[in-house]
Each structure stands twice: as C-alpha cells, then as structure tokens.
Amino acid sequence: MKTILTAAQLSITCQRLAHQILEQHPSLENTVLIGLQPRGVFFSNRIVEVLKSIAAGPVMYGQLDITFYRDDIRKGLHVANTTNLPFDIENRKVILIDDVLYTGRTIRAALDALLDFGRPAEVSLCVLVDRRFSRELPIQPDYTGKVIDTIVSQKVKVNWQENEGLDEVILLDN
C-alpha cells in the first residue's frame, strides 16, 4: 500500500481544482457542475464547497447516475443511485466530476446519459486521480488532481472523511 495523497494534500488539490475551474469559467452563470454517482459525488461535494466560498454568484450543482448506461451489464449488476439535475443543461457548459479516471468507460456512459437530458454547449471533465496509460477509450481530463502510472493489478482507493472516516488516496497492490 502506498499513499498517493494525504488528507492535507487532498484538501489543497480540491482548492486548486476549484480555482482552475473558476479561472476557466469566470462567471459560473452558464456553467453546471455534475458529480458522478456514487463515489464521484464525495469529490464533487468538496469542489462545490470550495467554489461556493470563492465564486461571486450561485453554483449550479447536480448528481448523475450512469448505471443504466453502462456497457458491462453482462459482467455484473450495479445498484443504481439517484440522479438529481435540478437545472436544464441545454446550451450550458457542463463540468463532469469523478474521483478516478481509469478505462474511460464510465465517462463514455456519462456522456450518453448526459445527452439524454439535452444538448450542452460543451462538456469538460474534472478528476481527482488520472490513471494514465490505462485508457480503453479516447477520453482525457481537463482538470486533473494527480496523475499516476499504475498497472492493471493495482487498485486506486479514494477514502473520504464522511464515508470512510479519513481523507486519503492510496494505491493497493493485489
């Protein structure tokens, strides 16, 4: 087991990503943030919390569940979580937020799910951990917390205070 981010580093990373988002979207008027269920939401909650403290106006924030859009129903069932998008995404700038970017298949499914709600002006991607060289689809993040090189047998685990009792990102060898 190896620590990738400690609690203190994780907090700084969230601060930095929120500032980078604000740098690219100075007015959040036409921008919506969408966390991916289930685990991406812990991360997006943090980003939104920081954004609310540094942005001038209100922050539009929702959660998207992509279970029914997965391409791996044949490999096992996932339990669906709630989707809550309390705004229209038509012509808006959407920032998808997830904890770990690995094969890219979750983001592919998220794009499909998102487009069923309307036609956004643009979609960008914010992730806490980018496991590069593991992609199975041409998907890259626009905002990245930490880039790491991993092999397939390793597992990246993101723990959160509110769920696991401790903020940290660790790498597990199986």
Partner: protein, 310 residues
C-alpha cells in the same frame, strides 16, 4: 447485489432483500421516466417475448412499454392468433420462439403454475405476468411501490384486501409480499370467496364485516370480481355484493378517517368500487398504473443482469 432467483415466478420465491432491491431500482427508473428522453440503453442486446395466453390490457402495455424504455427488442405473441389455436403445446410454442434467439419470456397464462412448468424446461429467464389463480408478482410489486411512496414504508402498514380473494392472483401475491415486508393484512369478502385455512397458511386476518376491516386499515386494496373464473355462483347478485362489500361513499363516510383506495384494474364500476370513490382524492389507482412501468423495468433489468452473471 442481485436477485436470489433466476426467474420472477412469484413473490413466494423472493426474499425481503429481493423485494427491496426491485423497489429501490424501480424508484430509479421512475426518475428516468421523468426525463426528456425516457429511455435507457440497458437492455440493448436483449430480446424479450411477451406471451399472452390470456387477455390483458394494462399488464401487456405496461410490460411492452417497460421493455421499450430499456431498449430491448420486443416480440408480442397472442394465443388467439397463434399456432396454439391449432393445438401446439406450450413447450413447443416456447421452444420454437427461443430457437430464434430470444433471451427473456414474459408470460400470462390461465393455468396456475404454467410459468413454473416452463422454468423447468427452458433456459431463458421468465417473468410471470399472471398465472391462473396463483400469482401476479409485478402487480404486488407495483402495489408495494405505490404504498411505499404514499406512506414512506411498508413495515407496520395496515392493508385490507377486499373482494374475491379465492380467485385473485393479485391478492395472493400481495399477501406474500406484505407479510414478508412486515405489513399487516386483513382480507375481507363474502365467506364463499375466501379460501378456508387462509389465515393460518399466510398469517393474515380474516374479517367478514367490511366496515370493521375498513375501520382498521390504512389502505384498502379493492379486487375485481372475476366472473370469468367463477364456474358456479358464489354470491346472489352483483347488486347484493355491492351492498355488502362494495366500496361506496356511505360506507366510507361512517369511518371518520381517510383511507387510501387501490384497485388493480379493470374496475367493475358500481360493483366492487363506486365511481366517485375510484375517481376521488384518496384513490391512487392511476399512480399504481404509472408505477407498473417502473417496477417492470426493474424486474426486467435485474433479471437480465443476473442472467448474464453465470
């Protein structure tokens, strides 16, 4: 998480965990049905055949819509216009359909146990859409979802099931489900329409006095009088039935409390349920129909996913 059973033949075979999983998945699908695009690609590679050996409007449309909302390919089969009318056996009919690479079977049949028989002989997952006087599991699940939405939970809920208990697969599935989920059940109706030993067998109460049952309950699930399944007269007349067991305004007015009214449809208006009650503010009959699609989506989705894990 997955269902413990390979088929959905009856509530009898489900665990409380299975029921909870279907209901929570159905709640997610209900949200999908509010979206601009009311459709998800989950069952894109699944073909479902709807085998209806008995008439149906609601259940059949509801299943077909659920399948289409999940992006499955759908085949419809009606016994009256098929080779079953030429004398082909059930197993032959189904095996012929399955040989064309069909993955799931939704079946309604007038013979109790028909889907159970089929389950022993074919590899495809089967959903029972009503078998004779045995079970109608998706109806009980959509009733449960409707009650859960209305009251927040099923545990401790007092449900009266009223009418033709003897011939009702809706009643049997509801009794199994409600008892498994910790709700209390009282059945009421003419003694000729309530099977003996029901109370002991299913751990429910039997009450022959309609007003007493209504005073006790939070919800009244009113059943259809099924004249087509009665081969001998079990009560004197429809008018008499309406006077003793029909849900009428005068009866409800005596209760000094509000109860929620459910009915699985189709309603015999003026027999088991009067129009002003069926269309009144305490009726959730149309919510039941709405929930039917979401519940059937959940059942199809969970069985298709489970089927693939083997």
């Amino acid at each position: 998480m997955k269902l413990s059973a390979k088929h959905l033949l009856g509530i009898k075979d489900l665990t409380p965990g299975d029921i909870q999983l279907i209901l929570s998945t159905a709640a997610r699908f209900k949200e999908v049905l509010q979206r601009p695009v009311k459709k998800v690609p989950s069952l894109r590679d699944v073909t479902v055949v709807n085998l209806f050996f008995e008439n149906s409007t609601r259940t059949r449309i509801s299943f077909e819509l659920a399948e289409k909302r999940l992006s499955a390919d759908v085949l419809n089969f009606t016994a009256s216009s098929s080779s079953a009318a030429k004398g082909e056996t059930l197993l032959d009919t189904v095996n012929n359909i399955l040989s064309m690479k069909v993955d799931m079977v939704v079946m309604r049949h007038s013979a109790s146990g028909a889907p159970h028989f089929l389950a022993q002989h074919i590899p495809a997952a089967i959903i029972n859409a009503g078998d004779g006087i045995n079970e109608h599991p998706t109806q009980a699940l959509l009733d449960a979802l409707s009650m859960q939405e209305k009251f927040g939970k099923l545990e401790g809920l007092k449900v009266a099931i009223i009418g033709d208990i003897m011939h009702s697969r809706v009643a049997l599935s509801n009794m199994y489900l409600l008892r498994k989920m910790g709700a209390e059940v009282t059945v009421t109706g003419p003694p000729t329409l309530i099977p003996p030993h029901l109370a002991e067998a299913l751990d429910v109460r039997v009450e022959y006095d309609l007003v007493k049952a209504l005073r006790w309950c939070d919800v009244a699930n009113v059943l259809r009088i099924q004249l087509e399944r009665q081969n001998q007269p079990l009560f004197s007349s429809l008018r008499e039935y309406n006077l003793f067991y029909g849900i009428r305004r005068e009866v409800l007015r005596k209760l000094d409390k509000e109860i929620v009214i459910m009915h699985p449809g189709p309603i015999n208006r003026g027999v088991e349920l009067d129009s002003d009650i069926a269309d009144g503010p305490h009726s959730i009959i149309l919510q039941q129909v709405e929930n039917g699609v979401a519940v059937r989506m959940a059942a199809l989705y969970l069985l298709a996913g489970r089927d693939s894990e083997a």
